[in-house]
């Protein structure tokens, strides 16, 4: 279903429907994350991907002309398709050597994960391991992430936050 939504997105001409489909894509991804037992990630995906991003896209749509004049004709080119297919096939072939999903003996699960699972309750008192890892064990990383969000906000504020200059002033400035 994810693949079907993605293919439909590529072929769509209407920006409004495309925005709605990206929201649906996010919601489907969130459902997939729930199936993989990653509830926190699913929560974020549903709130940010399906919620806020869609609203921001809609806000952006009201700023651009609803029917852009130049639409590139979509024609199927064999070369890029072949490259994509070969790369995809190579990646799928490589997954054969990966440990099975959720394998407790996989290298990724043997490094710090056992300590998180065994000791996080006694060390931080948090029943939710995800929270204890994010907020306590990896507090530095989360501080960095918040700084990134803050910086992005400042960037948007600098670019879009002030009222638009009047055309006369712009001409004077040039």
């Amino acid at each position: 279903m994810l693949a079907a939504t993605a293919i439909a997105l590529v072929y769509l001409r209407s920006l409004f429907v495309a925005v709605m489909l990206t929201g649906i894509y996010s919601l489907l991804s969130a459902a997939l994350f729930v199936l993989l037992d990653a509830v926190d990630v699913a929560f974020t995906e549903a709130a940010v991907g399906a919620g806020i991003t869609t609203v921001l896209f809609l806000g952006m749509l009201s700023q651009v002309p609803s029917r852009p004049e130049h639409f590139r004709e979509l024609n199927l080119r064999i070369g890029p398709l072949l490259v994509a297919l070969v790369t995809g096939a190579a990646l799928i072939y490589a997954t054969q050597d990966m440990p099975a999903f959720g394998d407790p003996n996989a290298p990724a699960n043997l490094h710090v994960a056992p300590r998180y699972i065994n000791d996080s309750k006694s060390e931080t008192g948090m029943p939710n391991i995800v929270t204890s890892v994010l907020a306590s064990y990896r507090g530095y990383d989360t501080l960095g992430e918040v700084t990134v969000i803050f910086t992005a906000g400042v960037g948007v504020l600098l670019l879009l936050g002030r009222p638009r200059r009047r055309p006369a002033e712009e001409r004077d400035g040039q």
């Binding site: 709130a47 609203v55 907020a135 803050f150 638009r164």
Partner: protein, 139 residues
């Protein structure tokens, strides 16, 4: 959308629930799924819904951009300040064990504080981005 009665009333009905749910996610993140980031987004969604139904001008009077700009920095400073506080209390940066009488209480206080910081910054930035996009071309 100001004259759409049903949309307006339903939105008014949902707004307190959305904000309450955001606060629940914020402070219950230690026990259930969620945390500062998700809570910030949910509360921002509440503000954006209000803006969509009641208009941007009214929302900006209610929550001015000045306040949002300050809140953006307050959240980050709360997070970093928690780290500085742990330094001053003799621990490593962001080692919450020193914040309480025993390590577990300290961890609890520390995580609560930094999650609050994350929530404030995320909510403020999201609302600010919405203001910036929605207000464009109207001044």
């Amino acid at each position: 959308m100001d004259n759409n009665l049903i949309v307006r009333e339903v939105a008014n009905l949902f707004l307190p629930i959305i904000v309450l749910f955001g606060l629940y996610v914020q402070f219950h993140g230690d026990f259930g799924p969620g945390g500062g980031f998700q809570a910030g987004v949910i509360i921002a969604v509440g503000v954006i819904l209000y803006a969509l139904v009641h208009g941007l001008t009214k929302t900006r009077q209610l929550i001015p951009l000045r306040v949002i700009r300050v809140l953006m920095a307050v959240g980050l400073l709360l997070y970093a300040g928690t780290g500085i506080a742990t330094l001053l209390l003799g621990g490593e940066f962001l080692n919450y064990n020193v914040l309480g009488s025993d390590p577990l209480t300290g961890q609890h206080v520390g995580i609560l504080l930094i999650e609050l910081g994350v929530g404030i910054t995320v909510a403020a930035v999201m609302v600010m981005i919405f203001y910036a996009f929605a207000g464009r071309g109207r001044e």
